[in-house]
Symmetry: C2
Subunit: 388 residues, 2 copies
């Protein structure tokens, strides 16, 4: 099988842009990706678009054709929604279509407008990623759900708020040179521990911010890349998806995310690599504890070992396995529907050696992107490799 290539990527700066519409944000990212790829826009076969809360934030469904039009494309367009894994799902379907020979050039991306409806509005909109009948109406919030997962983890494996704080500190440090990141701000372990508590044991600095932004990538078939002599050395060599029961109370464990494990196993198998081959990863750290659960569920660390990875420096740019070099959701920001493709965009740049951390990271050849929805009732994993 020949693997689809990432021909180009585009991002808006993540942050607070309440005055910019979703279509304005996505147009910037989409045109940026097309420009970066250097492909003829007329060659684009379709748009695969991820968005999560447009109905509530912009009173706008049916966004995919609107976004195609915003980028100036007259192509079929479909929106994928899997909560925070929406554009991860879009990447997966695009990879399937390219492999099947159904298309040669696909624009894949996502956008989310969140800050225009305020913190209360965004918090309400985010809650629809959980089970409304049995979780949200009972008073659960997302910080509350991840706090339960953190408590379960501490109970089963040990660990402390300070261990988690090191994850926040690391991801903020990674974001410092990232001009697309929302929070380019150095923080200390003390800052994290002294921040207001949101849902014990998670404080304000354990959570990602609320973010407006968009992301896009041009994925092309290997044949197209060759035919057009594109400089596209990074391929998506593995794709996987997993699902889980929606509500936490229906699951066997709170301290594991089997959907991510299923997605990772499928993606590793697909790519013919294993967790030991991964040089660099972008994982879904909507809360600090989510990074721990991801590292272990993806097989990058044994159960109980992920909690100290940041504290020990392993997952820093200067460590053995740099995780979230972009700053992650935590510091880069988390415009929900844009996050999955933003991870692919960030990884692509790292694998091409285009990162401020290049001196530390060296020649990374295998990257992994992990995008999760809700309390990981949905997960997608993609393996990216330098193939040329």
């Amino acid at each position: 099988m020949t693997h689809p290539r990432v021909a180009g990527v585009g991002l808006t700066r993540f942050g607070e842009h309440p005055e910019r519409t979703g279509r304005d944000l996505f147009a910037a990212a989409g045109l940026g990706a097309l420009d970066d790829a250097g492909v003829d826009p007329d060659d684009v076969d379709a748009l695969y678009y991820g968005n999560f809360m447009g109905e509530l934030a912009e009173h706008q469904g049916h966004q995919a054709p609107l976004m195609a039009e915003a980028v100036g494309l007259d192509v079929p367009a479909t929106r994928y929604e899997a909560a925070c894994a929406s554009s991860g799902a879009a990447v997966r379907e695009a990879v399937t279509a390219l492999r099947a020979g159904e298309a040669d050039v696909l624009l894949v991306g996502g956008a989310e407008r969140m800050t225009n409806i305020g913190t209360a509005g965004a918090t309400d909109a985010l809650s629809i990623a959980a089970d409304d009948l049995y979780e949200i109406r009972a008073g659960m919030t997302f910080p509350g759900a991840y706090a339960l997962m953190a408590r379960a983890y501490f109970d089963e494996y040990g660990g402390s708020r300070e261990d988690l704080a090191h994850i926040a500190v690391k991801n903020h440090d990674h974001a410092l040179p990232n001009e697309y990141a929302q929070l380019q701000k150095e923080i200390t372990v003390e800052d994290v521990l002294e921040a207001p508590m949101v849902a014990d044991p998670l404080g304000l600095y354990d959570a990602c911010p609320i973010t407006d932004g968009a992301s896009a990538a041009v994925l092309v078939s290997a044949e197209y890349a060759e035919r057009h002599d594109l400089a596209a050395p990074v391929a998506v060599t593995g794709s996987g998806q997993g699902g889980d029961k929606m509500a936490l109370h229906d699951r066997e464990y709170f301290a594991r995310t089997p959907a991510a494990t299923a997605a990772a196993e499928e993606a590793y198998d697909d790519a013919g690599v294993g967790p030991d081959d991964v040089d660099v990863a972008e994982v879904h750290d909507c809360f600090t504890v989510a990074e721990v659960l991801a590292l272990e569920s993806l097989g990058l660390y044994d159960p109980g070992e992920g909690i100290t990875a940041a504290r020990e420096g392993d997952t820093h740019a200067t460590g053995d396995l740099p995780v979230n070099l972009s700053g992650g959701l935590k510091a880069k920001g988390h415009p929900v529907g844009a996050t999955g493709v933003a991870q692919v965009a960030s990884l692509t740049k790292v694998l091409q050696g285009e990162t401020s951390w290049a001196d530390d990271v060296g020649d990374a050849e295998v990257g992994l992107a992990h995008n999760a929805g809700g309390t990981v009732a949905s997960a997608t994993v993609h393996v990216l490799e330098v193939v040329a």
Copy 2:
């Protein structure tokens, strides 16, 4: 290429079920489809699910894993949203995955809960299928948009409200023996013409009702069908999708729907058939005039010729090209996210000879399903054929 088979289908009765949640509705349809298919539920690889307005009607996004759980499946699940073409988009992606060998058995379906939020709530939710900034805020409604399209058609080709009325009468007649239909009620041309005007020239009986309901189909690879000796004579032999500018004012014509034409051309080409080969069709008749636009855009009638097809009896069960034998959206009902797969379910039964109209229809071998989103900014077309 071997074509995916429709191994089984399931529907809830379409109608007013304000007390039933989306998951309740979808569980019924999904389990019905699995039962009809006779496949081992453990063999299902993934759920492809269409839903449009769950965020507004049920305060519930991220519905796909919830629906997988409702059917008792522990599989990856993704939601597709393309307004009223949401589950048509799900079918298309499922077909791609089966053809690519990424899966052997897929549950595809959709659900919509609408009547629980009342007519005003549903009308507001439906409006997010149009351009909120430039159409809805300016006062446009969907009946208003289709009224503009009807007026443009009358201006360009002629035709009358009475011609349109015959479409409503035909589709109500078709629905009479359909136990899943919302409106099993005979109507006359006079009833249609005398009904309250909604948006001139479209009256109440020119519009589909507001509907709760769910649909599902089990699609399997040809290899799987053979290996398990399934009685699945109907295959999806062609798939196509088209897109258009979202807002009517950005389009060149109101009396054509190029997205449907693009989708049909792709699907015909894919299946190796032409419009003349189509024996029976389910088209997206959200308003009577939409059936006319569909017939012409799909190449089943020349421009200007579709308006009298129902009046002349051509598209009745007893005519040359039976259209909307299920009753169509007009009489069967239109639970938005469920409609695309419901069309496939209805066609499959017709092609298997399992329709009350079998004596009239005879041995139909090629069927066409046309699902449209908004004012046809999205369209999917599938060709179904009896292959065994």
